[in-house]
Symmetry: C2
Subunit: 241 residues, 2 copies
């Protein structure tokens, strides 16, 4: 049985994890009989947004406590996520991914990634365990594993952040600037980087996406992730040379 | 094109609408190309629950504002729901349905239903427009349309609240006491009352339910609802006799 870690960071598209994307991820992993554990960082969200008005609200909400709403209480603090206990790692999207896990929403191409998140992504990549990124979340992988990564140049990834027409998709532009290749994809598609075992799907990066489109695209992503993870498991362990 | 109204009441299983059930409802309606509008009552939830600890928390959250997280901001106040603008009505579950829309969670068989919700259910029933109820939500229909309804005896419904073994399912017992028939159903099933055009599916009323089970059961419910609604539309308008 394959084991997946899903990283959330609140509950709601404007200040946390996008709910439809998170639930679609959990449904598809359940469909493939993958054993899932959810995680989120402890600590306050970047801010709290009233989703009816779209305005920022006073007060503070905790990423882990709010994400527990999506996970029905079955969630753990991110520091408990041990890469060796999992075969794959998945990041749903939402502005939370771009505000709480990294700073793309506020700093654009000058963004930074939370240290614990960057470390996790490097660990899964090094261990050749597949990772899935939904909606805006691929920007995090692009920053950490791009050839222009400030800390340690990565291999550069092939990922999607939706459709880039005439360079107007700023997120796709950042992906390229960080030293990666951007590929256009529709909502019901996913892009698999077979060299790096990274799968991405645009979901609500496409403005016209309907819930069933998002669900289908995430289904393609999960199918690809489980295939990659099963293929990795089937490989014999490396011999000392 | 069929038109559905979906009634939410917060965001989270313990104090609002159950998130997986709500999202699965929206995905399946989108799959069937149904035009959806979401609604929730304005006003404070019965209480706020920390979904990580399960404990009640101080503070107040508004049913409509929180439900807007699930609906991505595309939601209206319940008072704007005009039955004549819709072909079907759907209630996802969650403790919110049993705390905010009626008082089953706190008063059991002595429960009452919010006046606006009872009025809506009677209006859709009278107009022969199908209604879907997920998880604990069928208890609301049972109270309003059961033969023992205090206000105005109804026809009595055939609905499911999951599995009742030896009368230990208190919700199923209440359904019977209100003057309805309870039928056992598994998570991937739905029960259709063809006389009353009421479809119910147990979802998380079954403790062992996994996200994909819940998704499948709600899919069966939505298929049945759209069939019933299409059949109603195909009928010639009633002639004056």
């Amino acid at each position: 049985m394959l084991r997946a870690a899903v990283v959330l960071c609140g509950c709601g598209r404007a200040d946390g994890s996008e709910i439809t994307e998170s639930v679609a991820t959990l449904i598809h992993l359940s469909r493939k009989l993958v054993k899932v554990r959810c995680f989120a960082p402890s600590g306050p969200q970047k801010h709290v947004v009233n989703h009816l008005t779209g305005n920022e609200e006073p007060g503070s909400r905790d990423m882990l406590v709010e994400a527990a709403r999506i996970a029905r209480g079955e969630i753990e603090s991110l520091e408990k996520l041990e890469p060796r206990s999992f075969d794959m790692l998945v990041f749903p999207g939402g502005f939370g991914a771009a505000k709480n896990l990294c700073s793309f929403a506020t700093e654009g191409v000058h963004m930074t990634v939370r240290d614990d998140i960057a470390k996790l992504i490097r660990a899964f990549h090094k261990a050749r365990k597949p990772m899935g990124f939904v909606c805006i979340a691929p920007i995090i992988a692009a920053k950490v594993l791009g050839t222009q990564s400030a800390d340690k140049p990565g291999p550069g990834l092939t990922i999607t952040l939706g459709i880039d027409v005439k360079g107007q998709n700023q997120a796709a532009g950042a992906v390229t600037m960080f030293g990666n290749t951007h590929r256009n994809a529709g909502t019901r598609e996913a892009i698999t980087d077979t060299a790096n075992l990274i799968v991405s799907t645009p979901a609500y990066m496409i403005d016209s996406a309907e819930p069933f489109d998002v669900f289908e695209g995430i289904g393609v992503m999960v199918n690809s992730l489980t295939q990659l993870a099963a293929a990795q498991q089937a490989k014999p362990p490396k011999q000392a040379s």
